[in-house]
């Protein structure tokens, strides 16, 4: 009986990586599925079991563990981070002059992908739909930028030089050449937060003497589901915590081979009575490569699984917002979705 209960617990809480496939992939802890379990939603139980541990945090990336939540909700956070947390990006490009060899449309695309450091929470979405104010943006929804640069011959270059860096002036156009042109009261409102490209050394185009660029750009607020340039993350992903269990004592040559089957640091060899015995020290480091399943004499000695409700999140920001701010914004986006439908239910009186 105890064995059956253990088995049920495993089906509920672990994803098993078997030789011929992955077992227990789906969430099954719904009411009515398991006799003897009360699987109805219990907020107190959730709050007791839920845990977040921050592993790493700097200005551009973070790693944290989110434990005790279902994949459906963890995945919603991940999806929102990628596609629904808004940022500001160049959306409209007005080209007054472009005599470089980069075509207008290619140049406009390149400009669009440059991350713009501006807090999107301080701006509104620009009205789509009616194209009444096609070119006009206001101070609450638009940031204006200018790129005006002309390449010329460097008069101080030495005669026999063949290095373009010495021969020409302004022949490399970088993102630092994009200048912010405040609209309305923006200069006062954003006085202490410098608006402009996040990175100053993104190469936009190369010019030769006589070629010039004269461009005005409008940045608007948008989300990643409209265009990837609005995505606030370089990547946001999660993986389940690996769990490696040795089913039998493994020693000697087998232990050495077993150690090599996993990522470095997962399995260590311990001296017990003069014999080398394998021991799992940190299964978190494993990539779950399945290498061990290629060894016929080893594959039945270990069980590789993943903990169903332990998510190791990695969030890498593009530098516009700090990664911890991005996660809090993502959670707020999901809450706003819920509230949107709750208020709709109340207002239409669908009872």
């Amino acid at each position: 009986m105890a064995a059956i209960m253990d088995n049920v617990e495993e089906i509920r809480n672990r994803v098993i990586l078997g030789e011929f496939g992955v077992k227990n992939v789906h969430t099954t802890d719904f009411p009515g599925n398991y006799p003897g379990y009360d699987d109805t939603w219990d907020m107190e139980k959730f709050q007791k079991n839920f845990r977040i541990d921050v592993v790493h945090l700097d200005e551009n990336s973070m790693e944290f563990d989110m434990v005790g939540i279902d994949a459906a909700i963890a995945n919603a956070f991940r999806r929102i981070l990628l596609a629904e947390v808004p940022t500001m990006a160049i959306e409209k490009v007005f080209m007054y002059n472009n005599t470089s060899i980069v075509q207008d449309e290619v140049l406009a695309h390149r400009l669009g992908l440059i991350p713009i450091k501006a807090d999107p929470r301080l701006f509104e979405y620009r009205n789509t739909g009616e194209e009444t104010s096609e070119e006009e943006g206001s101070e609450i929804d638009t940031i204006q930028m200018q790129l005006k640069i002309k390449c010329s011959i460097n008069p101080r270059a030495s005669k026999d030089s063949s290095d373009p860096r010495e021969l020409y002036l302004n022949h490399m156009v970088y993102s630092r050449d994009i200048k912010w042109v405040p609209i309305g009261n923006q200069a006062d409102v954003f006085a202490d937060s410098s608006i402009g490209p996040v990175h100053e050394d993104i190469l936009i185009a190369q010019l030769r003497p006589g070629q010039e660029l004269d461009i005005i750009m409008h940045c608007v607020k948008g989300t990643g589901k409209d265009h990837a340039k609005f995505s606030p993350v370089a990547t946001a992903s999660y993986r389940l915590l690996p769990e490696i269990t040795l089913l039998e004592l493994v020693e000697g040559e087998k232990a050495k081979r077993l150690k090599c089957c996993f990522s470095r640091g997962v399995i260590d060899l311990e001296e017990i009575h003069g014999r080398k015995v394998a021991k799992v020290v940190n299964s978190r480091l494993d990539t779950c490569s399945r290498e061990v399943l290629r060894h016929d004499d080893l594959k039945n000695l270990v069980k590789i699984g993943r903990v169903r409700d332990h998510f190791i999140f990695t969030v890498e920001s593009t530098g516009i917002l700090a990664p911890d701010v991005l996660v809090t914004e993502a959670v707020k986006v999901l809450m706003r979705k819920c509230q949107r439908f709750l208020s709709e239910l109340d207002s239409t009186g669908m009872e």
Binding site: T27, F30, P31, G32, D39, T40, W41, M43, F46, Q47, F50, R51, I52, D53, V54, L57, F64, M66, I69, D70, A72, I73, N75, A76, F77, R79, I80, A83, E84, D324, V327, T328, V331, K332, L334, M335, K337, C338, Q339, R340, F341, L342, E344, L345, T348, M350, E351
Partner: protein, 114 residues
């Protein structure tokens, strides 16, 4: 049931002829797997619910058909409302926990100036 012609609809209710109020397909506009799957999970956690599932009608349409069938004559709006509320509360708890832990982490990394 759709909102007035000018405003975009947010939520619609579709019922088969003669079906009771426990078997309803809700059309959630401008939504996808993000809300669909997490809401489905919350609603399936309820004992009143016999079936809950959703489909994306077509890749180029941004709406989902969200089906709820209940037991024991409960109106389908009940578990929908409860699911949305519970999902909102879950998010609130995640948000509070996350902010608390991030602040702890930041304090540990750089102790406040004396």
């Amino acid at each position: 049931m759709a909102a007035e012609g000018e405003k975009k609809p947010v939520l619609e209710m579709v019922q088969a002829d003669g079906a009771d109020e426990g078997c309803v397909t809700f059309v959630l506009h401008e939504e996808d797997h993000t809300l669909g799957n997490s809401l489905r999970y919350m609603i399936m956690k309820s004992v009143d619910v016999n079936f809950c599932g959703y489909t994306i009608t077509h890749p180029s349409e941004s709406k989902i058909n969200f089906r709820i069938q209940t037991r024991g004559g409960v109106a389908a709006t009940e578990p929908l409302r409860r699911g949305l509320n519970e999902l909102n509360d879950v998010c609130q708890h995640v948000l509070n926990t996350f902010q608390g832990r991030v602040n702890e982490f930041k304090e540990r990394e750089e102790p406040p100036m004396e």
